[in-house]
């Protein structure tokens, strides 16, 4: 599979950049994290790293080219030979998809249903470093917001098809039949009469049972659980190195970054037991085991198979369990026992290059973690002789928490512990044969 590498937006205002230097040539093998080019903006020169292993296909932009617009394809990346037949090597297995957009029951627009010429960026390699300082806000056009307001739709529940994931008016309009079919829409479906406000051509299909369940649960969650969100940025360079080392050693199952995240979440929940809870009718239930539900997107809806006793699983074992659940989910072979219960949910949308997602809590859990893309970003590092700016592979983790069960202090402790666990993966017990450090002191 060929992937496209795009000119990244390195600053909020950047519209174009100069391809100052290529560090690779067609045919070169690259590893995730390897610098492949230097991009010059009006302010600075930044390095562009590959986020995936592979082989450089074609360089589409000459070295020294000025004024290369953001999102222009600058190179193609082919899958590396050794991994071309191994899906597990993909650091972002497509099965791990979950996001509030999907979770809320509104699927991505069917391809071909759009009347406008749009190129979806989803197939692009997520190498776009996110700009700092931007407020965490769902990108949506004012027109989309107005439509959503008028129609009573939660804009955050939609997935944008516009540039850089912007929710545009068409996305709101596309969402309308899906929403209306959930309740009282049978009549509409039966008569085939489009709602009056829909002027554009559309198609309509009934939701699957899974889809209906998901729609109902998500709507209930958003309507009845007092959500609050906390976000933390984590440097995953160490985790990526560890993964590379472990994968290079060969014998165990191929690890994905998500495996490391789930593993760290399990540790953090174990260390922050007040997060591993559930609110139930004026009572608080604290679980003595960590069962992590991992969201997996299927065409007909979302499933959340549960990794039971996750805190007890060494990393290799956790990874193979994860793969097993994924495969069975995609093969529609999950048993009820596989997705029942759980104490906490992880939802990873990083493979789309999404920096940050704001999950809806998967009830009755007290917390759901949204995992963003791991991308190089400029970071300020305080040192002895002042603050300097460096580039690190960063990932944003966002916790949606039920404020009836947990508060900001607990969330903060949990996220801090999670950050420590991911940034110092060698300190994770059982993270592999090469982990030599003793346990860190109890957080």
């Amino acid at each position: 599979m060929t992937r496209e590498i795009l000119m990244p937006a390195l600053t909020p205002t950047m519209e174009e950049g100069t391809l100052a230097r290529w560090h690779v040539r067609p045919g070169d093998s690259v590893e995730a994290g390897q610098v492949i080019a230097e991009i010059e903006t009006d302010k600075s020169v930044l390095e562009l790293e590959a986020l995936e292993d592979g082989e450089i296909g074609e360089l589409m932009v000459e070295e020294g080219a000025e004024g290369v617009p953001v999102d222009r394809v600058i190179a193609t990346l082919l899958e590396a030979h050794e991994s071309s037949d191994s899906e597990e090597a993909d650091p972002a297995p497509p099965a791990e998809l979950a996001d509030e957009a999907v979770a809320s029951g509104i699927g991505r627009p069917e391809s071909g249903s759009s009347s406008k010429p749009r190129s979806q960026g989803a197939a692009s390699t997520p190498v776009i470093p996110s700009s700092g300082g931007r407020r965490n806000r769902v990108p949506a056009s004012p027109a989309a917001r107005r439509l959503a307001r008028e129609r009573g739709i939660d804009i955050a529940a939609l997935m944008g098809t516009g540039p850089r994931g912007r929710i545009v008016a068409a996305d709101v309009e596309a969402a309308l039949p899906a929403l209306s079919s959930d309740d009282g829409s049978t009549a509409v479906a039966a008569t085939g009469t489009p709602p009056a406000e829909l002027e554009i051509p559309f198609e309509e299909r009934p939701l699957s049972t899974l889809g209906k369940t998901m729609a109902r649960r998500m709507a209930e969650s958003k309507a009845t659980i007092p959500h609050f969100h906390c976000s933390i940025d984590v440097c995953v360079d160490a985790a990526l190195s560890l993964r590379a080392e472990l994968n290079a050693s060969g014998d165990g199952p191929k690890l994905s970054l998500n495996d490391l995240v789930v593993h760290a979440v399990a540790r953090a929940l174990q260390d922050t037991p007040r997060m591993n809870v559930q609110y139930r009718d004026d009572r608080l239930i604290r679980f003595r085991r960590v069962d992590i539900a991992v969201a997996v997107a299927l065409d007909e809806g979302l499933v959340t198979p549960v990794l039971r006793g996750a805190e007890t699983l060494p990393l290799p074992k956790l990874a193979s369990r994860m793969r097993d659940l994924n495969e069975r989910a995609r093969a529609r072979q999950l048993d009820v026992e596989d997705y029942r219960g759980g104490t906490f949910t992880v939802s990873n949308v990083g493979m789309f290059g999404i920096r940050q997602s704001w999950p809806i809590i998967n009830p009755p859990h007290a917390g759901t973690l949204g995992v963003g893309a791991a991308v190089p970003r400029p970071v300020a590092i305080a040192g002895d002789d002042g603050t300097r700016v460096d580039v690190a592979t960063m990932m944003s983790l966002t916790l949606a928490a039920d404020h009836r069960a947990v508060d900001g202090v607990i969330s903060g402790q949990f996220l801090r512990r999670l950050k420590e666990a991911l940034e110092h993966p060698e300190a994770l017990p059982d993270s592999g044969e090469r982990a030599q450090s003793p346990n860190t002191s109890d957080g």
């Binding site: 205002t13 300082g133 407020r135 806000r137 004012p142 912007r166």
Partner: protein, 325 residues
């Protein structure tokens, strides 16, 4: 640090440069401080470098501009004070067709280290023909840097930079700033062009303000804070070059923008900021950009008639409320 007025801080920068640069000419030095204030060092400079001082040139704005630009092209820096911006419009052919184009059109052979200083804004007791803030017009033409300082420290730092720059620079000051006091760094102090200053940090709305209106915005922000509205006040300090990144960063944070300045609305500073934000901070905008400018009519004489033309903290608060739905 020393406490001094805006006018004194500006003159400090000019005086220092007159000492440092034996080729610099100072034209219109009589207007630098305004009619009442005294500055002993300026007087000393006027005596000591009499051959490089033209205290009160003839009322001939275009030729005064030519004098400064031609001298600058020759390698001798010049500062010319034009009194009021409303009169300096007479010199704009020289500004944009000579100073603004020289470097580009000569393929880089010529530089124009000239500074043009003038007062802008409503002149309280003056005739309409004396009241104008026409900086956006010059900004529409390439090649001229434009400084709009708001504090004593800034005018010193920005004037120092202007007097070291190889490019022509227009410095427009508001009369109500001249006597304003503040802490000013001692000695050599410069502020790079194109670096906005966040005068007050906030989360709910960005107020982009220039020159004297920075203080109006700050007062408005204070009142808004009492009502629980957190306003960020961004002062671009130079509008060419314009620190777009700082403005956009603030807008990305707050999602709401009010622009407060003295130029007329149509094709004014607010239009540029409005267009910039509508294109480049689109996804972060929660409300339309509001431009708070004097009305698009000439400015009448007299303080009462000028009331609608004065941007007050109340008006800024009102504008902010209108974007906080």
């Amino acid at each position: 640090m020393a406490r001094m007025t805006f006018a004194a801080a500006m003159v400090d920068a000019v005086v220092a440069r007159m000492h440092d640069d034996p080729t610099m000419t100072l034209i219109g030095s009589a207007y630098l401080l305004g009619p009442t204030a005294e500055h002993p060092e300026l007087n000393a400079v006027r005596e000591r470098y009499a051959d490089r001082i033209i205290d009160e040139p003839p009322i001939a704005e275009s030729a005064v501009a030519g004098l400064a630009i031609g001298s600058a092209m020759s390698g001798c820096r010049a500062l010319a004070h034009f009194g009021l911006a409303a009169f300096a419009v007479e010199a704009w052919s020289q500004f944009i067709h000579e100073a603004g184009v020289a470097h580009h059109q000569s393929g880089g052979q010529i530089t124009v280290p000239a500074v043009f200083v003038m007062m802008h804004g409503i002149m309280p007791i003056e005739h309409s023909q004396h009241s104008r803030s026409p900086y956006a017009m010059l900004a529409n033409c390439p090649g001229i840097q434009i400084v709009l300082a708001s504090t004593p420290a800034d005018i010193k730092g920005l004037m120092t930079t202007a007097l070291r720059s190889d490019n022509p620079t227009v410095v427009m000051n508001h009369p109500l700033l001249m006597a304003m006091e503040g802490e000013v760094p001692d000695g050599d102090f410069s502020i790079p062009f194109g670096q906005a200053e966040v005068r007050r940090a906030g989360d709910d709305v960005t107020i982009v303000a220039t020159s004297h209106k920075v203080h109006v915005a700050l007062e408005a922000a204070e009142r808004l804070a009492a009502d629980g509205v957190s306003a960020e006040v961004v002062d671009p300090r130079t509008i060419v070059p314009l620190d777009r990144a700082a403005i956009l960063a603030s807008v990305c944070k707050t999602g709401r923008v009010v622009v407060v300045d003295d130029s007329p609305r149509t094709c004014g500073f607010g239009a540029e900021i409005g267009a910039l934000v509508a294109e480049s901070a689109f996804d972060d905008l929660k409300a339309a950009v509001v431009r708070l400018s004097p009305p698009d009519t000439p400015i009448p004489r007299g303080t009462v008639a000028q009331t609608p033309f004065r941007t007050t903290p109340e008006k800024v608060v009102g504008a902010v409320r209108s974007v906080l739905w």
